[in-house]
């Protein structure tokens, strides 16, 4: 690992000031991703600003719903009684990711900021537009079995690895950040927080340099009784999703009043299946209705050379997740 200066931030304003003062500085919270990337020489900050001491760990009820501190650990978030009660979909998604050890270390803000697990991104000997803008994408013509089927571009075909973010997308979460002035903040809808690669995959977050995530807001909803997070990976546990689905239904009078479907493992951002959702609203819940919605969403898929299986897998996974959500399997 290259040498770096280690600096502890005293508070939010201090953290933002320190990172803004040095363009080669980066925040470190849980460290589960940045330390690994630095060991592999993929990331080369000359200074780490440690924000783990900031008071951004609270999970509390707010008028619009629930506020989750950016520095609460994934474990504490998934196990918080308010999250388990009101947003079991989020608990389920967090617990589907990584291992107990990593969830104990990883923070919510860090989870949103984590980098793709593309092996070409990690291999500093090969081209990668995300690591070295303009150098090319090795995955496009390489081994792309695990890669995107939606929203990719010639410059990058990697997928966002987060499970948590998929549930947040289904739950219409808002990411609150502190501006570089360190005094005011603003909210970014989760669906706009991660960006599709386009021609700038190295800028795949909506954050400006130096901006700091402070909390994630979950608006109140009526999905708690009928939601489900389904993850399909190469192992049952401790592996990244090939395809995952966060499904949530609000039922009224035997019909679907509202539906939320988001997919993981298929794009460089949590993929909201808006077309599937539209097909579901007003329908009587049934396997046929779920299958039709799933097929509609997957029609737009553009598989790469090695991942056509994800289209059929996605269809089945959406259907199954909706069936389980309907049965209230998250309960």
């Amino acid at each position: 690992m290259r040498p770096f200066k280690f600096t502890k931030a005293k508070d939010e304003a201090d953290a933002v000031r320190l990172v803004s003062a040095n363009r080669d500085a980066q925040y470190i919270a849980g460290g589960t991703n940045i330390v690994d990337l630095m060991k592999e020489d993929v990331r080369r900050p000359n200074e780490l600003i440690d924000i783990s001491g900031l008071k951004l760990t609270r999970i509390k009820t707010i008028p619009s719903g629930l506020s989750i501190g950016a520095l609460a650990t994934n474990t504490d978030t998934a196990n918080h009684p308010l999250v388990r009660q009101q947003f079991p979909l989020l608990s389920q998604a967090i617990l589907a990711g990584a291992s107990a050890q990593i969830r104990n270390m990883a923070t919510n803000g860090g989870n949103l900021m984590q980098q793709v697990r593309c092996w070409y991104f990690y291999d500093v000997a090969v081209a990668c537009n995300r690591r070295e803008p303009g150098s090319g994408c090795s995955a496009l013509g390489g081994l792309n079995r695990r890669y995107a089927i939606f929203g990719w571009s010639e410059s990058c075909v990697a997928v966002n690895p987060s499970d948590m973010a998929v549930a947040l997308a289904a739950l219409d979460a808002v990411v609150n950040v502190t501006e570089t002035s360190g005094t005011t903040g603003y909210g970014i809808p989760i669906t706009e927080f991660h960006k599709l690669p386009g021609d700038a995959p190295h800028r795949d977050k909506a954050l400006e340099p130096g901006e700091l995530i402070t909390s994630i807001e979950l608006p109140r909803n009526n999905f708690a009784a009928n939601s489900y997070y389904l993850k399909v990976g190469e192992r049952t546990s401790y592996s990244f999703a090939l395809v995952s689905v966060a499904a949530a239904l609000e039922l009224a009078g035997g019909r679907i009043k509202q539906a939320r479907v988001a997919l993981g493992g298929v794009a460089n951002k949590p993929w909201r299946a808006y077309d599937a959702e539209k097909m579901l609203v007003g329908k009587t819940p049934s396997r046929e209705a779920f299958e039709a919605a799933a097929a509609e969403e997957m029609k737009k898929a553009q598989p790469l050379e090695h991942n056509e299986y994800k289209v059929e897998l996605g269809r089945r996974a959406i259907t199954l997740a909706l069936l389980r959500a309907f049965k209230g399997a998250a309960e």
């Binding site: 280690f6 460290g31 617990l95 107990a100 050890q101 270390m105």
Partner: protein
């Protein structure tokens, strides 16, 4: 005495040279070995070919042991570190204050700086769990934990689990249920399992938890739950059945039968003679 040819000479001829005796006396003085032990060294040590060289090794060992109890003496030499960070933390009950390079991972602080080699480095990139330790009551990966971020924290490694000669129940259960083969992942498995017990006590959920909305404490974990909760610890020997059995026993607080036994002397003798008969038959 540093002339190895002379030592070889001594080993070949068996004659004790006067300077060797004098060197030995000096080293024994430094090591604080007197009386019977000292006489025995000259009678048996030198005569038995143990020699001054072995005594030198012993002296080095003792010097290192002295250093371990006073780490500051060593770290004072590190004043020239490029990005030195001073960290004060508690490891297995003992307060430590160390000056380290900012790049130092907790696993390296433990193993390289403090000689606590119980914690193992496996993949060094957060995929295998061999380096699992418990920090402030939570199991974490020490390879992805910068030591600089451990200021004021309490660290428990596998060395800190036993109370004197009494093993932690999880350690004893791993032995009883054969929860390892090569043993490399074992310290991580054990630390992970110890933290898992607390998580179950606190009612924390896992991906195998059926009903997330219902919260309860003192969970009794199914084998499926244990497997899911231990998924961050990989065992290449495949000792998983033993690991699950060990954790199940401690978690349930109910003794279960050990599925293996040491062979008795009669059984060994029977097996040996059976082998001989087979060989004879083959001839």
């Amino acid at each position: 005495m540093n002339d190895h040819r002379e030592d070889e000479d001594y080993l070949l001829n068996g004659e004790e040279r006067p300077e060797t005796r004098a060197d030995g006396e000096k080293l024994l003085d430094e090591l604080g070995i007197f009386g019977v032990a000292r006489r025995r060294f000259f009678e048996q040590g030198l005569a038995g070919g143990l020699g001054v060289f072995a005594l030198q090794l012993l002296a080095k060992e003792k010097a290192l042991a002295a250093v371990e109890t006073a780490p500051d003496a060593v770290f004072a030499e590190n004043a020239g570190l490029e990005n030195a960070v001073r960290v004060s933390l508690k490891i297995n009950g003992a307060a430590q204050s160390v000056e380290i390079d900012s790049r130092t991972a907790l696993v390296d602080l433990l193993r390289e700086n403090l000689g606590l080699t119980g914690t193992k480095k496996g993949c060094d990139q957060g995929q295998c769990g061999a380096c699992t330790v418990i920090v402030d009551g939570r199991r974490v990966l020490s390879c992805l934990t910068l030591a600089a971020r451990c200021e004021g924290k309490t660290v428990t490694t596998v060395e800190g689990l036993a109370k004197g000669d009494e093993l932690h129940p999880v350690q004893a259960a791993f032995i009883k249920h054969d929860g390892f083969q090569c043993g490399y992942c074992t310290p991580g498995q054990i630390c992970s399992a110890v933290a898992l017990l607390d998580e179950a006590k606190n009612g924390e959920a896992s991906a195998a938890t059926k009903n997330l909305r219902a919260t309860a404490r003192d969970l009794k974990l199914s084998d499926e739950e244990i497997r899911e909760r231990m998924s961050g610890n990989v065992c290449r020997c495949g000792a998983y059945p033993g690991i699950v059995a060990a954790i199940r026993e401690v978690q349930a607080g109910r003794e279960t039968a050990q599925y293996w036994q040491f062979a008795t002397e009669e059984e060994i003798a029977a097996a040996m003679s059976a082998g001989e008969e087979e060989r004879d038959a083959a001839v």
